[in-house]
Symmetry: C2
Amino acid sequence: MKKGGFTLPGEAGYEKLTLELAEKWGADCIRDSDGTVLSDEILSSGIPIYSTICMVRSVNGWAKEHMNMLGRNFLSSDPVMAEGGTLVIRPLEKYFRPQITVCPDDPVKEFWEVRDRTAGTLVPPGDWEWDPSAETVTVNGTVPYHFYTVSFLACRIWEEISMYNHITNGWGDREHLMAVDPRYPEVQEVLLSYLDGWCRSHPATRVVRFTSMFYNFTWIWGADERQRTVYTDWGSYDFSVSPAALREFEKEYGYRMTAEDFINNGRHNATHNPPTEKYRDWMEFTGKFVREFGRKCVDLVHSYGKLAYVFYDDTWIGVEPWGEHFEEFGFDGLIKCVFNAFEARLCAGAKVGTHELRLHPYLFPTGLRGEPTFAPGGHPEADARRYWACVRRALLRVKIDRIGLGGYLSLTEPFPAFHDEIEKIADEFRTLRSLHEAGAPWETGIRVAAIQSWGPLRTWNCSGHMHEHPELPLNHIYEALAGQPFSVRAISLRDIAEHGVPDDVDVVINAGREGDAWSGGGAWDDGRLLAAITEFAARGGGVIGVGEPSARRGGFRHFRMADIIGVDREIGKTVCFEKYKYEKKPHFILGGEAEPHFHNHTPGVYALGAGTEVFADGGDGIVAAANEFGRGRGVYFSGFTYGAENARMLYRAILWAAHREDLADVYTTDSADFECAYYPSSGKLVIINNGKDPGTVTVRTPEGERTAELAGEGIAIL
Amino acid sequence: MKKGGFTLPGEAGYEKLTLELAEKWGADCIRDSDGTVLSDEILSSGIPIYSTICMVRSVNGWAKEHMNMLGRNFLSSDPVMAEGGTLVIRPLEKYFRPQITVCPDDPVKEFWEVRDRTAGTLVPPGDWEWDPSAETVTVNGTVPYHFYTVSFLACRIWEEISMYNHITNGWGDREHLMAVDPRYPEVQEVLLSYLDGWCRSHPATRVVRFTSMFYNFTWIWGADERQRTVYTDWGSYDFSVSPAALREFEKEYGYRMTAEDFINNGRHNATHNPPTEKYRDWMEFTGKFVREFGRKCVDLVHSYGKLAYVFYDDTWIGVEPWGEHFEEFGFDGLIKCVFNAFEARLCAGAKVGTHELRLHPYLFPTGLRGEPTFAPGGHPEADARRYWACVRRALLRVKIDRIGLGGYLSLTEPFPAFHDEIEKIADEFRTLRSLHEAGAPWETGIRVAAIQSWGPLRTWNCSGHMHEHPELPLNHIYEALAGQPFSVRAISLRDIAEHGVPDDVDVVINAGREGDAWSGGGAWDDGRLLAAITEFAARGGGVIGVGEPSARRGGFRHFRMADIIGVDREIGKTVCFEKYKYEKKPHFILGGEAEPHFHNHTPGVYALGAGTEVFADGGDGIVAAANEFGRGRGVYFSGFTYGAENARMLYRAILWAAHREDLADVYTTDSADFECAYYPSSGKLVIINNGKDPGTVTVRTPEGERTAELAGEGIAIL
């Protein structure tokens, strides 16, 4: 159990530390990191080497000579009021100029748009002019007191990860790296040639780890320090735009994607909003390209007898591991940076040979919010334990093949407690992996489906990391589910409208806010969707609604599934209707616990009638309720915050919705801080303490109760 | 000052009390009430008599013989799920059967509708059947798992005010009064004949007070005690429906109003929602009828040399005093029941000869919430003082001609303190009236307009009383304005779109919730509206937005006037956008006061940029902000609760928005609990204490400071 499945970041100049820790942590692989190199001593240590490469920002010299092949994206100015006659707009002024400029070669009239946002109309191209030297757009013949915007094709001259690291770490006059767009055949040629040379010059490398494929997640910076980040979305395809791509798309799809298709009334196509048909086409178009050129890169790596892994964090576009065609890349492994459990599930479920987690803390002096980690005042061993306890829940449920760290190993030298902690974590990991290898853990048999706009593509994740969108109830639901004995999948609302809820689903969860991608917005205009959910529930299915599930204005109910889940929401349109005066009662779902509090609680939710069993509420509406509907059951939560008690409540809600209250005492613990998994093949019961406090826990099993003492964040294997 | 302008409710059997109190309170008029009679001794006292009459429920014998001429309205069943084949729906089951039934004579297929609410379609009349004996609708050929509703023409067999009084007072087997619909010529004949006989038999009556005209406010009761009131709206026209009216409308307007035009996806046409074009037509059609037949009644009263007053409380339909054609009734007086100040302004501003307020408490044993008033444990003198202090603010601003009481005078006998209090109130009233008669009070000169969907029709009131819709910020705004030295009007958003903001408006206020009538909903789809407001602001106008002002999905901004008021709201569609990190600073609007708290606060509001001056916020967004825009100014409040400090803040917000900060110290008090008015013609300064605690107040006037000591709820005239 002491060796294997561990990737260690090596560092030149710290050969002794590298090899000592490789031994201590059982590393079977040494990697470099952004900014580190491996010395010959390490390369010749006999331990397999694993090298990172980020192709698109690796040809900076060439990129500088070919600025017209850098990545582009559409951006909009803020609305500017006209007073009639001529209006001058400075489209670039709100953006961070070291990142954003305009490519002088781009045909402005072909791609840019000036829009009257008050009237909702396009200004004819003849009525405006771009002055590249003044960086102004002059609009003629404006309508007085209307607001106008300029949508322009931005050219990015500083690759975002490089920019972030450069600014955060104060790299001064170190070169700004630029990202080229492989949509241009010349770029593909340059990149393949670079990769070929790289493979040739890295004979010791066993695994080529692509830090990215080609298009970074969207990260637009602003000129004003008080709004440094204008827009960030890990899932959106903004950065895959270029004149070449736009023209190619038009050839392939027979219509043109306009600036407005990306600007979308200033909202862009954030992953949190339901996609338009055109945007779906663009994603398909781009995804196909990324896979095709990606495959060429992978094949080239393979031709050198090396393995190709992909790191899924900075560049999601077209690389989504739960995308239908992910296997077509031919990757040998997927590496996922994980802060929490659902990210581990995302990794584990991908169709790829090796699943590896990059653990936190990253070996950097400071953490995400600038707090010290490997710096004076830091407690990296506690951080490591906490992150591990967050992620480990998922590893009880599913098998992960490898774990590892990233960053500067030298920074860990003053923190021997961290060295010990990672040693323990690596052992725990290997133990759990071996249990999975012996046979899968016991599951309830209940099959849960998150139903949202994106379907499988966004399984186990909305977009970005949990800490970036803590407001989204579905992120918290995914997190709770990540450590629970259910089969989990995601299905798109469109699929359900077209084909019904699949027979092999027991409980569906719709968790979101009115109009967002997770609740579904316009998808609910299709009556077939409600009919399908109604049929599913009437025939015995479980339906869980969270926040503003199925919310859509214009129907008989605001929550379209109101009759199933027993509640609807007052949004100011039905204030003349008296609400049913329910009597709050205890419920199986709550067990004996206190009523939940959700940080993203939706106010104004009321009971439809006598059938609605309300078991939690507050001054501004219902917090939790249950409802029998036909042969099925509906549950409502006004929001969802991941936490021990709430996760337990969700677990019981799913059991109840699935008519499986009988499972409430099967492999469950008597305290919500603890979770467990039973592995029938090996006869082992694993209990984990997700909390920081030590404690005694009793697990109810079909064979009786088992009790154990666990340290804070500890583990017991019985 | 001791006599006049006071209407006293007399009561037979209490002649001495009646005449004593007439003397004490300076009554110049004695009235009867619902359930009281006046004896000959009172009638011959020489004091003018004023009699109440409610025509539509006064011909019960005839009504019983003509059930097909009772009032009707459309109601809907709840949605019921079909499983394919035949579905049985009981449309009446959710309603209070003593109120609601079906008229056997009504042609069901002509008026009723069965709707598939899942598909949003109408079921052909041939596919369903009504069984009057079983009270069921059987729908054939249903789509499995779709929800269906039945919309039916309900016939009301118990007039609502009669029903409420009967049930509240336990009148046992006293006859249930029914309301006839004067849309039927036979009914008109009966009513006019009844009125004629009534006038003839009431020679002592000087004033005929119509307790109602013809159609009660909408008040639908339910079968379930836990939801006794299904639907209540003081402004909606549901109860003006009848087969005769529907057919007449079709002749006049060339199209038919269907059940769905009233059911409106289960929401009815609540006054709080923007009206449809068809509903506006129906209101116009009904209003014209009410005025025409109303005028006939008034003329008949006049022909007997009597005056005709109307009580504006139970029956608003077509009688709205701020309606364009109110004068056409020919009423001599308007009596308004008042709980608070905006109701007094509503009354005072009507174009009618005499404006009278019916004060609270009503002379009933219990108050609105069942608490004792003229019953053991009651303190009617304190109640009277409190109501008066709430209403009096308005009477400093505008002239009211009369006040009065209603109910059973005998009940006051054990409460001599009440007698004394009313004596004081009557004197205060007469003093204020005399000041107005000498000349209008000083005003700021600032002209404020509430801009909403209804325009002037809903000036000084949204719908119903303040305590029925305390959630509406506009009700609270109206209440604050009711005691302030501004000129106030209401303008419809449609008028503004078509004609711009009138030149004689300085500050506009849009206060509501997304999609409601007060914010405007779909009105904002018309770009001319935003253009007009933008022009107004750019040229120097003040724009105040409250709650979710101008909120409408689908535009560049969620608050369409965001660029003017400096804030927008996160509704889950822009979570990928970083919000501007503002720095909160003091502001003129806040003065030195604490940040406000609004009970109807809108969460998630953020600053657009550096120009937004945020001066109040909380954990969930901005509470108050100001923004310079062009030559104008915008202000935002996240909600509004009427109260002394908040009213003062609104006052300062209006001054600021109008660029009149110079008025901050002109006729203002040093404590928000106190307000004042200066009457230049008489040289009097009136100071009132709206609070319950006594105190010393200093008024800042152009001539220097004036100080006074006031009792709690007291008044001083300097």
